[in-house]
Symmetry: D2
Subunit: 420 residues, 4 copies
C-alpha cells in the first residue's frame, strides 16, 4: 500500500525513549473494529497481536460496546474504589455463576488494582503473609510484571536491570522442557526442597504461567503442571497460576489450567478480563487464604466500573455455553496446520503453541524481527517474544473468523518467504 509519512513528531520529541511498540509500527492508528485496526490514512491492519492478549473478543466488540455506552449514558458510577455498586454486584454475580460455579472453583475475589502487575503484587503479598516466608519460586523466562514485586519473579535480564536495585527473594527453576528433556521433571527443584542443606530459602509459593507468552510461547505440558501442583502440595508451597495472558479463553477454556485438571491456590487474571481493553484485574484465591485485613492492600482504580460492565457482558455473551472454547480450538487447529506447512518449507523453522497462542521460531534468532517488520508492511500486526525476540508470536482475537485467520496466515507465509 502507499504510505504517506505519518506525523509522529510529538511522540519522538515529547514521549519518553521508553516507548517501544510504536517503533516497530510507525504509523498512527485511529480506530478499530473486530480483528482490524485502521490508521489515520485509512490503511487497514489485520491484528494478530490483540493488545498483547487484552482483546480476545476483538476491538470494540459490539455487544460490549452497547453495554458500555448504555452504562455511560445513564451516568452509572465510573470510579468506585471498593465501594459497593450495582455494576460491581452484577460482575461478581456473573463471574460466580458463569465462571466459578460451573468449574467447581471456590475462590474469593479480590480487586487488587486494574493491571496485571497489581494482581501479581497482591498474590505475592498474600502468599508471603499466609506462609510467613519471603521466598518465591518462579520459572525461567517468566513474565509477571514491572513493579518491583512482580519484576523480581520475572526472568528477562533487561527488564530486571531496570529495577536499579538487586532483585531478591525470588529463585528461578527450569520451566517445562527448559533443558530439552535431558533431565527428569523437577529433579533439581524437588531435591532442593528435600535437602535441608541445599541452601534454598523455603518458598512461600511458586508462580507459573501455563504458556509463557512473553518468554517465547513456551507451553507447559498438562502432566508437568500436575507434577508441579503435586510438588507444591507435598512441600507446603502455594501454587499461583498467573493467567493474565493465557486466561480468558486464550488457550481454549476460560482458565488455561483447566486442561491440566489442577486447582491453583491463587490465580491472577487481567488483560482480556474487561473484554474491551479497559484496565481490570483480579486476584482469586481459596477462601482459607483470605486472611487480609480490611484495606491492607488497596488502590485508586481497583473499582473500574465501566470495566465491570463490559466484563459482565463478555461473560454473558461468550461463556455461558461451550462455543467459545470450541471455536478457539478450531482456529488453533487451522493455525497449526498453516504453521506446519510453513515450517515444512523452511529449514530451521519450528512452531509451538496451544489454543490460539502460537509461536514460530527459526534457527536464526534475528529472523523473527524481520518477519514482523515485513508483515507490518503487508498489513499484518505481529509481535516477537522470547529473551532474544526470536519467536514470532501469533495472538489473534478469539473472535477471528476462519477467513481472517487464513488471510493472516497467508501474509505470514509470504513474510517468511520474503525474508528468507
Amino acid at each position: 500500500m502507499t504510505m504517506t509519512q505519518p506525523d509522529l513528531s510529538v511522540f519522538t520529541t515529547l514521549e519518553s525513549e521508553v516507548r517501544s511498540y510504536c517503533r516497530g509500527w510507525p504509523t498512527v492508528f485511529d480506530r478499530a473494529q473486530g480483528s482490524y485496526l485502521y490508521d489515520e490514512d485509512g490503511h487497514r491492519y489485520l491484528d494478530f497481536f490483540a493488545g498483547a492478549g487484552s482483546l480476545n473478543y476483538g476491538h470494540n466488540n459490539p455487544v460490549l460496546k452497547r453495554a458500555l455506552l448504555d452504562y455511560l449514558e445513564r451516568d452509572g458510577i465510573t470510579h468506585g474504589l471498593d465501594m459497593s455498586t450495582t455494576a460491581k454486584r452484577a460482575f461478581l454475580e456473573t463471574f460466580r455463576d458463569v465462571v466459578l460455579r460451573p468449574r467447581g472453583l471456590d475462590y474469593k475475589v479480590m480487586f487488587p488494582g486494574p493491571t496485571g502487575t497489581n494482581a501479581v503484587e497482591a498474590a505475592l503479598k498474600l502468599a508471603r503473609k499466609v506462609k510467613g516466608r519471603e521466598s518465591i519460586v518462579s520459572f525461567t523466562n517468566a513474565f509477571h510484571g514491572m513493579s518491583l514485586g512482580a519484576l523480581a519473579v520475572t526472568g528477562n535480564a533487561f527488564k530486571r536491570a531496570g529495577a536499579g536495585i538487586p532483585l531478591v527473594h525470588g529463585t528461578p527453576m527450569p520451566f517445562d522442557d527448559y533443558l530439552d528433556g535431558r533431565t527428569p521433571d523437577f529433579i533439581w527443584f524437588e531435591r532442593l526442597l528435600q535437602d535441608s542443606g541445599s541452601g534454598l530459602n523455603k518458598p512461600a509459593a511458586v508462580i507459573v504461567e501455563t504458556v509463557q507468552g512473553e518468554g517465547g510461547i513456551n507451553v507447559a505440558r498438562a502432566e508437568w503442571l500436575r507434577g508441579l501442583a503435586d510438588l507444591c502440595a507435598r512441600h507446603d508451597m502455594l501454587l499461583i497460576v498467573d493467567d493474565i495472558q493465557m486466561g480468558c479463553g486464550r488457550t481454549g477454556p476460560f482458565f488455561s489450567f483447566e486442561e491440566a485438571g489442577i486447582v491453583p491456590d491463587i490465580v491472577t487474571v487481567s488483560k482480556s478480563l474487561s473484554g474491551y481493553g479497559l484496565p481490570f484485574s483480579l486476584t482469586l484465591f481459596k477462601p482459607e487464604l483470605d486472611i487480609w485485613e480490611p484495606g491492607e492492600h488497596n488502590g485508586t482504580f481497583r473499582g473500574n466500573n465501566p470495566a465491570f460492565v463490559t466484563a459482565s457482558a463478555a461473560l454473558d455473551a461468550y461463556w455461558t455455553d461451550g462455543q467459545m472454547e470450541k471455536q478457539t480450538l478450531s482456529r488453533g487447529e487451522q493455525t497449526e496446520a498453516a504453521l506446519r506447512q510453513i515450517t515444512a518449507e523452511h529449514a530451521g523453522a519450528g512452531y509451538r503453541g496451544r489454543g490460539l497462542v502460537w509461536g514460530l521460531t527459526f534457527d536464526d534468532p534475528a529472523r523473527a524481527t524481520d518477519i514482523c517488520r515485513r508483515a507490518f508492511e503487508l498489513g499484518l500486526l505481529l509481535e516477537t517474544s522470547g529473551p532474544q525476540s526470536e519467536v514470532v508470536k501469533l495472538l489473534p482475537a478469539l473472535t477471528v473468523s476462519p477467513e481472517e485467520m487464513d488471510e493472516g496466515l497467508l501474509v505470514l507465509a509470504r513474510a517468511v518467504r520474503e525474508t528468507a
Copy 2:
C-alpha cells in the same frame, strides 16, 4: 432518610476481606452526577470524597462524557499499549500546550501504566538508574502506593506489614512540622548527608507529596519545599514530587508544587488526570534524565486511549485559562471559614489544608470515624485519613458549587455536634 436493607450478600460472601470503603458506606451505589451519588434505592449522597481525589471534575462530567461517548461510538482505538494513536497524539499535544509550555516546564512524558503506583515505580526505577544508587528518602506519613517499590517509601506500618518481606532501600525523614517546629528544617537530613560517617546510604532521590493526603492532610509550607529542592540540588539527589492526589488542580494550580516555585526533577500524576475516573497516570521528568532503553519499563494498559480522550477534554475545558484555579481557591476559603467556625465551637478541634483539600482533627482520634459515620447517615460522603484515621478529610470535586459546598459543610457541622 429511610433505608431499606441493601443486598450486599455477594460482596460479603464472594469478595475478599480486603475490601474497605464499602464497610463504612453500607449501601449499593448506582449512578452519579457532578457532586452527587445515588444508591440503588434512589438516595442521594453529597460527595466530599471525590474518588479519593480522582474525580476533581465531578462524576460523569458532561463535557468529558460527550467526548468519551463520541470516541467510543466511532470505534476509536480503546487499547493501544504504546502504539501511536490519534487519541494519544491529541493528548500529548494538549498536555504540552495547556500544561507544560505555559508553566515553562520542559518534561518528557512517560506512560508507565494506568495507576499511581505504576507511575511511582517508574519514577523510582529511573532515579536509581540515573544515579546508580539504591536508596530513596521519603517522609513520615508518606503514601505512594501498594506495589513493592512504592510501598517501601510509604509510611503506614499496617500497609507496610502487608508486604510480607522486609521493605528496604528507603529511609524516612521528618515531613514539614513533624516535630512541631521544635527543630530547624532539615537539620537532621542535611547533617546525615554532610557526614560521611553518618551511616546513611547516599540517596538517589527524595520523594515527597506537597500535601500528604492519606497521611493526615499534612501541608508542607512553600519555604520548606524550596528548602528541600535546594537540599536535593546541593547533595546530588533527584527531587520527585508525587502529585498523584494533589495534582490536577486539587490545591489550586495544576501542579501542587507551582506555588512553591520549584521544578522537581520527576513528577508523578494520576487520579484526576483522566478526569473521568478512568485509570491513567504519567511520569514526567527532565529531558536529561530520559535514559530509558525502549521497553525497559512497560505495561499492558499504559495506552488507555479512552482516558487520553477525557484527559484532553478536561484540559481543554478547565485549564486554558485561570478560572479553575481561582474557583478552587475561592471554595477553599469558603471551606476554611466553615472549619474555623467548627473548631471555634469545639474544644480540642483543629483544621488544616490548602486549596480544596482540608482536614479536621480532634484531640480524641476516634472522633473522626464517628463523624464520618454520622455524615453518611446524613447523606454526606466523608473519609478519614492519618495513621490512626484521626483526621476528617474534605475532598470535594473542584467543580462543586458554593451552594453544594455550604450544604456539605452544614452537614459536617451537624455531624460534629451530634458526635460530641
Copy 3:
C-alpha cells in the same frame, strides 16, 4: 633518631593494598614490653595506641605472660571449639566471680568466635531471633565491624562501600550531641517509634557504643545512655552495648556502661578481653534471651584456650579490687590537664574523652594526620579517628605509668606545636 631504611619489600610487593597502619608507621616492629614497642633497629616507640584498645594491660604483660607460658609448656589444650576444658572452666568461673557477680549482672556467656565482629554478628542474630524483627537501629559514626551484619550498622561510608551490596535492615539515629545540642535528645527517634505512619521498620534492637572510638571519640553522657535504655524499654527494643573498645576498663570501670547505671540486654566484649592481644570475644545477654539452639551459631576458633588463660590471669590480677579503675581515672585526669593546656595554646583546638580514651581536634581536619606523623618521628605512636581522620586519638595502655604518660603528652604537645 636516626633511621635506616627498613626492609619493607615483601609488604609492598606481596601484601594486599588493603594494609593501612603500616603505611603511617613505616618501620618493622620486633618486640614490645609494657608501653613500649621496639623496631628491628632497636628504636623505641611509646605506644599511645595500644592495639586499638586491645592491649589495655600493656604489651606482653609479665603476669599474663607467665600464665600463658606455663599453660603452653604443660601442653594445655590450645584449640577447643566449644569443648569443655579446664582452661575454659577457669575462665568462666573467674569471669562470673570477678566481673559479673560483684556488679550484680546476671548474664549468660556466649563464645561467638574470637573477634569483635563475630560477637556483634551473634548479638544481632540473637536480637532478631528473639524479637522476630529484622531492623536494627545504630548511631551516626558507629563502628561495629567488617562482616556484613556488623558493617550494616557501621556508619563509615568508605567502609560500607566495601560491602559491594546495599547494606540494609539498619537505620542510623543521631548519637548524643550529634546536632550540637540544638534538638532535644531522642525527639526524632521517639517520634518515629510512636507514630505508626512514620515508615520506620520497628527495630528489634538498638546497638550503641558509650564512647565512639573509631567514630571520633564521641562521648555519650550518662543521662543520654539512661534515656536510651529507657526508650528501649518503653518501645520493646533490646539494648545492645558494644563494649569491644570501651570495655575491659578503658573508661575506668570494667564495663563502660556501669557509670550510667544501665543494664544492657546484650553486651559484646573483645579486644582487651584476653589481655595479651590474643583473639577472644564474648557476647553476653540476659538469661531469658538465651533461646539459641545448640550449634545454631558456631565458629572454629571460639574456644581459644590460651586466651582463656591470659584473660583469667588478667581478671585475677587487675579486677579483684578497685585499683585499676582508680588508676585509670587518675591517668585520665592527668591527660585531660595536658589536653586542656594544649587546646588553650592553640586556637581552634578542642578535646574530649573519658577514662583513658581521649581525642584532640582542630578546626582544620587535616591537622590530626600531620600531628600523628610528626609524633611517630618523635617516637610516639598515635592514631587518628573520625569520619575524616580529624581526631588525634589517645589510647595508652591502662598500665601506663604517670611518667610515661607525661612523656607522651609532652611529645604530643611538641608535635602539635611543630605542625601548627
Copy 4:
C-alpha cells in the same frame, strides 16, 4: 574406662545454650599431645576430629611449640593489627617461598581477620567490588561461615535460620554428583547463564569447597572442578575456592585444588594455617584483583603475630619437601582400606573421601550419631557431618602414625558393630 562425673556445672549454668560439641563429649579436657587429648581425670582420647581440621600437625606440635615459646619469651610483638613486624615479614617470605612460588601461584596476600568467616567475607566483598555485581553462586551443602555474608552462601537451613533476616544475593547450584549422576554436569547452571531470560542475577563469583567437610564429606571430582573453572572463565565470574578446611594439606597437597590443576581467582585459608590452633586466616587473590583501598576492610586481630610464628615454623618443618603429601596419601589409603572392609561387613554402609578426610554413611541417618557416641565411650573422638548429621567424619591429624590410625579404625569398626 571408669568415668567419674566431671564438674560441668559452670558450663550448664553460665554458658549459652548455643554450645554444642561439649554436649556430645561430656568430659573436661585438660591437655593434649599429638593425636591424643587427656581429660582432667587422666583419660586418654584418640583424636580423629583434629579441631575440625585446625590441628593438621597434631596438638601442641613440639616444633611449633618451641618456636612459639621462644617468641613469647623474647617479648615478640603479640598484637600488631597490620603493622609491619619481623614475625609478619618472616611469615610472608616463608609463605611465598614455600607455598606460592613452588606452585607457580602469583597471589597477593590479605590478612582479613583471624577466622575463616573473616576470610570469606573479605573474598565476597572483593569479588563484588571487582565485578560490580551482588550475586554469588554457592553449592548445595556448602559451609562458609556464620557471619551474614558467609552465612548467605552456606546451605544448612538450621544455620541460615539463625540469621534472623532473609539471606539474599546467593543462589545455590548442585554440587558434583548432587543429582546422583542423572544429569550432565553444569547443565542447569550453564543454561541459566546463557539465557538472558533465565532470571538468574548474573553472579560476581562462584564459591566452592573441593571437598565439603561440614556438608557431608562430598568430594568433587577433579574434572568437575575443571569444568567449573572453565565455566567461570567463559562467563566472567570469579572462582573462589574456600580451602579453609581442606587446605593446609588435608587432601594431600597444600592446596586441595592442586590435584585438579586449576588456579582459582581467590582462595581462603584458615584452620590449620597457624598449625597450632591459633586463629589465623588469609585471603589470597590474583594481583589484578587487588583493587582494595587502604583500610577498606580491616579487623583488630588481623595481625596475630604468634600465629605468624607457628605458621612459619609449620611451613618450614612440613612443606619444604613432598613428604607430608606422601604421608597423607598413604594414611588415606590405610583409612580407605579399613572403611572398605567395614562397609563390606555392613549392609547399607558406604564411604567416601580423599587424602585424610573420610566419611562413613549408613542408610539409617541416625546411625552416625550412635557410632560417634559409642566411639567416645571407647576413647575415640569422632564427629558427624551432613545436613542430617548422617555421616561419620574421619579427620585425624596428618601427623598421625600408622599405629594410631589402626587403633582408631579398629575402635571405629567396633563402634559400628556395637551400634548395628
